[in-house]
């Protein structure tokens, strides 16, 4: 994009924005489908998931850290803070899974298992975002939009563990 003339660059950026919004819309629907499944499972009597406690605050803070760094250093090549926060977020997720012993909890409650799947899907998106942080030469508003989406999806995912289940 940076090699193109300004007009063409704007065109390309707008197309990229349209493509990203479509992708994020589809991703949001994937999360929605899984949340709907979680709701149906709880209606069928599945025991609610165990909330991840203070880990939720830590992971959410780390995600906010990524977007803050991207916002602060937009259109520059400085991304070390964002990369560090993203790596720490994925590491913290791994620790949550280890502490909750994924497979044992999954057998006990379908709602808990679905919570793991939701966090797993989120982690996949996070890993893709981390890859983008390493791949692109400069940070951009689109990259930040992507991470902002991940913040929103994470807050809703984690909150679902604290909801009063039917």
């Amino acid at each position: 994009v940076s090699r193109l003339a300004p007009a063409a660059r704007t065109q390309e950026e707008t197309s990229a924005a349209v493509g990203l919004l479509l992708f994020l819309g589809s991703s949001a629907l994937l999360f929605l489908a899984l949340w709907a499944a979680a709701l149906l499972l709880s209606l069928r009597g599945a025991p609610p998931p165990t909330p991840p406690g203070w880990w939720s605050l830590l992971t959410t803070g780390l995600l906010f850290g990524v977007t803050f760094q991207l916002q602060k250093f937009e259109r520059t090549s400085r991304r070390i803070g964002a990369r560090a926060c993203a790596l720490l977020f994925l590491g913290a997720l791994g620790l949550i899974w280890k502490r909750a012993s994924l497979l044992e909890s999954s057998g006990e409650s379908s709602a808990m298992a679905l919570f793991f799947i939701l966090t797993g899907i989120h982690a996949l998106h996070g890993a893709a975002g981390l890859l983008a942080l390493f791949a692109f030469r400069r940070t951009s508003r689109l990259l930040n939009t992507y991470w902002q989406f991940l913040v929103g999806a994470w807050i809703l995912t984690v909150s679902s563990a604290y909801l009063p289940w039917p």
Binding site: L22, S26, S106, G107, A113, L114
Partner: protein
């Protein structure tokens, strides 16, 4: 060729190269899926008899076993819907035609085209791997749990099915994002929304539905995969399972995607049909804006009707009635669409070239399939017909016959553009009649035996005294199916032969004015030397100021028009 050149060719980002690759991939799977259906028809027509030619592949006896039968209908359905028709109609013609039809140099995201193709290939390989396992997937193309869970179907074969489906969903989603962005952002100057060929509208609406509903398929198969591999119980219910699963959740997730999937496949077909009827009737498409609005209305309503697939899942009667009314409502814009097609044909100067015959075939079988859908929309009738061959006949008429005839119409229409060669019209006409007649016979007989109550997916219906009387009809359907297979010989001979021996095609053999015919055949790598400026719609045929061949191209500037 050096290694760099080889990988350069392999990873070509040219939408035309990707489109042609999808075409070959889809045709390969079409014949594989078709071959599987022949064995199914053999078992239904001649139950218990050794299968000729391929019997040895099924075991020492040469007969179809009940397990093999379940694998056959599962793989046939999965292959035909997701690995044959989708790559053929959406992958091949979407990639090849969209940029040419809208006057663009390429797709908005050429890399996504490559990614979409290779993800589809990976999905295909995963599904093909199940052929080499002792037991393949056998829970039907819908993969309903608990049969599709490890409790119902142990073994790796059924585990590969959700993996293949998830990869398919990823490939299609990537393609859909690419198509939508391309149509929204890359149209040539002057190519307003109501100057788009209807084919493009078909691809656009199909892609929007894909982007909206493929995530639901992904969610469904992801949970199924987790049940099979990680021992979760999302879809397993019962007193022994304490974790609170429910197989009906799968049906919700699957059909939220599954019903729009019908329209995802049929929209491009309808778009192509709407354009070709106009081109070969040599007059403008009747009520173009009405056609577009009807397509949009169908797209919207189609998202609200999935529950009609689940009438027999102890759904609340009130909810069922809602789905019934909404399903009936789809018929209104569908009828309007049908009337616009008839309006286009009315008093047209019909040119019965091979693409037109196939297009007329679509109009006929879609009418038949659509009408039988009205029966199934009614709860009282559906409760009787659910899981019978009537349902099988209905969706074969709409999703198989209509879509495949549209695929062949598209192939015969764009073959000279894609390959730069002419094909033999006599063989093409022969192909039409040897496809259309047997196809209509097979699927119509399915409606008749289904109406008599014959259950689908039965290994041997003649085991049941009440259905023994239907064996004769089943046998006729099987003969028609075999005729359909032999009817594809002229197509294969013509398609392959014309690549080598076909005469060079002229640039615009059908004398139409859309943009793809304004460039050489096959088009250059960059499509257009100069990005064209569009001055009119795609169907200006029979215009008083058209040229000697009756063409007024989208790019033509008339003397009293501003350039």
């Amino acid at each position: 060729m050096s290694t760099t050149q080889f990988f350069g060719e392999l990873l070509s980002r040219d939408h035309k190269v990707i489109g042609k690759r999808f075409l070959w991939l889809g045709l390969g799977f079409l014949f594989l899926g078709g071959a599987l259906s022949m064995v199914i028809r053999w078992q239904l027509g001649f139950p218990g008899r050794p299968v000729p030619l391929v019997g040895r592949a099924l075991g020492a006896s040469g007969r179809v076993s009940p397990t093999a039968y379940a694998e056959l209908f599962t793989l046939h359905g999965t292959i035909m819907i997701f690995f044959a028709v989708t790559p053929l109609l959406i992958g091949a013609f979407g990639n090849y035609c969209i940029p040419l039809l809208i006057g663009a140099r390429g797709m908005a995201f050429p890399v996504l085209g490559v990614l979409s193709f290779f993800t589809q290939v990976t999905a295909s390989l995963v599904l093909l791997a199940s052929f080499f396992l002792p037991t393949g997937p056998l829970a039907g193309w819908t993969g309903y749990p608990p049969l599709s869970t490890s409790v119902g179907t142990p073994g790796l074969g059924q585990t590969l099915w959700p993996i293949a489906m998830a990869l398919f969903a990823a490939a299609s989603l990537v393609g859909a994002i690419n198509y939508i962005t391309t149509v929204v952002r890359c149209r040539a100057p002057g190519m307003g929304w109501f100057r788009l060929p209807l084919t493009v509208w078909g691809f656009l609406l199909s892609s929007i539905l894909s982007a909206l509903f493929l995530p639901f398929l992904t969610a469904a198969v992801l949970l199924l995969f987790s049940d099979r591999l990680f021992g979760t119980h999302f879809y397993i219910a019962g007193p022994l399972v304490q974790s609170g699963g429910d197989p009906i959740i799968y049906q919700h997730l699957f059909w939220i995607f599954g019903h729009p999937e019908v329209y995802i496949l049929i929209f491009p077909a309808w778009g192509i049909v709407s354009d070709l009827l106009s081109f070969f009737a040599r007059k403008p498409a009747f009520a173009y804006p009405v056609t577009v609005v009807s397509l949009m209305a169908i797209a919207v309503i189609s998202t609200l009707v999935y529950g009609h697939h689940m009438y027999v899942t102890s759904m609340s009667p009130l909810l069922g009635q809602g789905f019934m009314v909404l399903t009936m409502l789809v018929s209104l814009p569908a009828c309007i669409l049908f009337i616009t097609w008839l309006g286009t044909l009315w008093r047209g100067s019909l040119r019965l070239a091979p693409p037109m015959w196939f297009t007329l075939g679509v109009v006929f079988v879609f009418g038949l399939g659509g009408l039988t859908g009205l029966y199934l929309a009614h709860i009282p009738i559906d409760i009787y017909l659910h899981d019978t061959y009537f349902v099988v006949g209905h969706f074969h008429l709409t999703m198989a016959a209509a879509v495949l005839l549209a695929v062949f119409a598209a192939i015969y229409f764009w073959y000279p553009k894609i390959f730069g060669r002419n094909y033999n019209h006599t063989l093409a006409h022969l192909h039409f009649w040897l496809s259309f007649l047997p196809m209509s016979a097979v699927f119509s007989i399915m409606l008749v035996v289904g109406n008599a109550g014959l259950q689908r997916r039965l290994f041997d219906p003649s085991d049941y005294p009440i259905w023994r009387g239907l064996l004769g009809l089943n046998r006729v359907a099987s003969y028609a199916a075999f005729a359909l297979l032999f009817g594809q010989i002229p197509f294969v001979v013509n398609f392959i032969g014309s690549l080598f021996w076909g005469a060079r095609s002229e640039h615009n053999p059908w004398h139409v004015g859309t943009l793809e015919w304004s460039v050489s055949s096959p088009p250059p790598a960059h499509n257009f030397d100069e990005i064209p400026r569009v001055h009119r719609g795609p169907h200006e045929l029979g215009h008083p100021r058209s040229d000697a061949r009756g063409v007024l191209a989208q790019t033509t500037v008339l003397s009293d028009e501003a350039p």
